[in-house]
């Protein structure tokens, strides 16, 4: 049962954001490289929902894009159903694998071509992969529309005739058209209202069960992540600092940054718990701090943290990159302490 669908090993992606060569010569200043993703490894099993969380700019979307092939890795590998897709050449050699992964985007307005009819949008992967021929194409489009809660006659309409939530349904239908078994969802509900968000999240869960889909889910709404995922990974400045089962992570986070993140969640219950803002400024991914990149903001930082990058180590089912955890000098988490 626990078959790995996706394995990401030491994935890296650097972006060169230096000024043009001429400007560098005239005005000085060296090359500037953004380490958007800097050595990320994790695995996703079939039928799971693996979520990535973390501050804005920590590299979540870049990981997603590396996996579906919108970016090529600077280093490391993406292995999908046992086939390595890290290098562009190997990805090109396996179009059948590429076809089995799809992506759902954040902006329901920009993710559908405004000049195309909904039917043609959804039919594109079917036609391109020649999954159906002739009239069967539109029949399949009708089925897909019904699957996501729209009507087959909506195929004749243009995207602007739909609301944000309905467009996101259309995006899902398009993603499902190529019969994928792995979906990358980059903040699929961030642009939607809570009530519409609930519709989409429910739909995604139903589809997952029905079609045995595997999700990589990205969001910075931790409550949404808690609701949908089976495993959660916390990213900080291009690195995965902790990952484990959802319940474990929310119940007993180990990494100091995970703890800060959970402390900053707004409290709907109004239990009176003061929300603790994460202190300090987000460092720049151009010149990340040496050692553990979280050390300038970490209350448990010591000399070792400033020089040595902590490796991801396993503690039972939890995977954490932190010296304090390894040295056993981290205090208990609030909930765990109370229990």
């Amino acid at each position: 049962m626990s078959e790995n669908v996706l394995r990401v090993t030491e994935l890296k992606r650097y972006f060169d954001v230096s000024k043009p060569l001429l400007n560098r010569i005239l005005e000085g200043g060296g090359r500037q490289v953004v380490r958007a993703v800097d050595g990320v490894s994790f695995e996703i099993e079939r039928g799971e929902t693996f979520s990535l969380v973390g501050e804005s700019g920590c590299g979540k979307s870049t990981v997603a894009r590396l996996i579906v092939g919108l970016y090529h890795p600077s280093d490391g590998d993406v292995e999908f159903e046992g086939v390595s897709l890290g290098r562009p050449a190997s990805r090109a050699r396996h179009p059948e694998k590429q076809a089995r992964m799809q992506m759902i985007f954040q902006d329901p307005y920009a993710s559908l071509n405004p000049r195309w009819r909904v039917g043609d949008i959804i039919a594109e992967p079917i036609r391109f992969r020649k999954l159906e021929q002739g009239a069967a194409v539109m029949e399949r489009v009708g089925e897909l529309l019904k699957l996501v809660g729209l009507a087959p006659r909506d195929a004749a309409k243009y995207p602007h005739e739909f609301s944000g939530g309905q467009r996101q349904r259309i995006s899902i239908a398009r993603a499902l058209a190529g019969k994928p078994d792995f979906l990358v969802c980059d903040e699929p509900t961030s642009a939607l209202d809570v009530s519409v968000q609930a519709q989409i999240l429910n739909l995604m869960k139903e589809l997952q069960k029905e079609l045995n889909l595997t999700y990589l889910f990205i969001s910075h709404n931790l409550a949404v992540v808690y609701h949908v995922s089976t495993k959660v990974g916390v990213m900080y400045l291009g690195r995965l600092v902790e990952w484990s089962e959802t319940k474990t992570l929310f119940g007993n986070p180990l990494h100091p940054y995970s703890r800060m993140l959970l402390d900053a969640i707004p409290d709907l219950e109004m239990s009176g718990r003061a929300r603790t803002p994460v202190g300090g400024e987000v460092p720049s991914p151009i010149n990340p701090p040496p050692g553990c990149s979280f050390h300038p903001r970490c209350p448990f930082a010591n000399e070792r943290c400033k020089s040595e990058v902590p490796a991801v180590l396993s503690y039972g089912s939890q995977h954490v990159a932190c010296h304090a955890v390894q040295e056993g000098r981290l205090p208990l988490w609030r909930d765990a302490a109370a229990a």
């Binding site: 992506m103 985007f105 993710s111 071509n113």
Partner: protein, 305 residues
């Protein structure tokens, strides 16, 4: 489906903004009439101005009908070769419009192709195309026309050249205009390329060529049409200028510009009609097309609505 589209069009904002402005409607009607006149010129004209056999020198320099010595045979008078100005203008309109249209279409196709490739592929392709564009901009249309004309003239006999003169013009004017299309398309493509629907198509696995043609192209056509319309007016004027300078279409098949050039020589000897009537037609045509272009630009610009 087509009926649907038509209904959607007449229901849409474009048609609405069109019907709201009297000036724009006037310009559209004038443009339409001029196009029509050019199209059915043989039916409307009184003589075939391109047939040297039908021209008689004894009829040369006749004044328009309402002046002393004018006849209904030549309502707008005749030129120095006895050509009926009215017929010559209809045929000249034809030449001017054909040259204008072909030049703009040539520029459009070239500009869109290079602009799409430049914007979508980026990198070296982009750099090379844009540098060529920069160089291109330093050559005015007249220089290109002279250059190409000179080369073609060198390899062909004069009569052969006469038959291809129109194409030389089209290519010269087209070459002077493609940069504008290419830059606009490139800019729009850079915007569209990063939109998520293009990335979705990439994840589906569509090759770049198909993405450019099927997805990006339809979404960059709005501004292209606007530039196309405005450039039609420019192309017609450029053709006139080139013809006026004597590097345009041959005098045996005169365009409006050629007519103006011919007439210019007689302006001070009192035969003003030879230059004035083609001149007025030209001015009206260019003005009307320009007004349409301006309106299209405003109507398609969501910020001004």
């Amino acid at each position: 489906m087509t009926a649907d589209r038509l209904r959607a069009f007449f229901d849409g904002d474009l048609w609405w903004s069109f019907t709201r402005s009297k000036v724009v409607m006037g310009a559209a009607i004038v443009t339409g009439l001029l196009f029509l006149a050019a199209l059915i010129a043989p039916l409307l004209s009184l003589q075939d101005p391109w047939d040297p056999g039908s021209l008689q020198l004894m009829n040369s320099r006749n004044p328009p009908v309402w002046l002393e010595g004018g006849t209904w045979e030549f309502p707008l008078g005749t030129d120095n070769q006895g050509r009926d100005m009215y017929s010559a203008i209809l045929y000249g309109l034809r030449v001017s419009l054909v040259v204008g249209f072909l030049a703009v279409i040539f520029a459009m196709v070239l500009g869109i192709t290079l602009g799409l490739a430049s914007g979508y592929l980026g990198g070296m392709t982009d750099t090379i195309i844009m540098r060529i564009a920069d160089v291109q901009l330093t050559f005015p249309a007249i220089l290109i026309a002279l250059l190409i004309g000179g080369i073609v003239r060198g390899v062909m006999t004069p009569s052969e050249f006469e038959s291809v003169a129109v194409y030389v013009l089209v290519v010269s004017i087209g070459l002077s205009q493609w940069v504008q299309f290419a830059r606009t398309v490139r800019g729009q493509t850079l915007v569209e390329r990063n939109k998520e629907y293009v990335q979705a198509a990439r994840v589906v696995g569509l090759p770049a060529r198909l993405i450019m043609i099927r997805h990006v192209l339809p979404n960059v056509m709005g501004p292209v049409l606007v530039i196309g319309t405005i450039n039609l007016a420019v192309a017609i004027l450029t053709e006139a200028t080139l013809s006026f300078l004597g590097v345009g279409v041959p005098a045996t098949r005169p365009s409006l510009g050629t007519l103006i050039q011919i007439g210019n020589g007689f302006l001070f000897s009192g035969e003003w009609w030879i230059v004035i009537f083609p001149g007025i037609t030209m001015a009206i045509l260019v003005l009307a097309v320009n007004l349409l272009g301006d309106w299209l630009r405003d109507a398609l610009n969501p910020k001004l609505r």
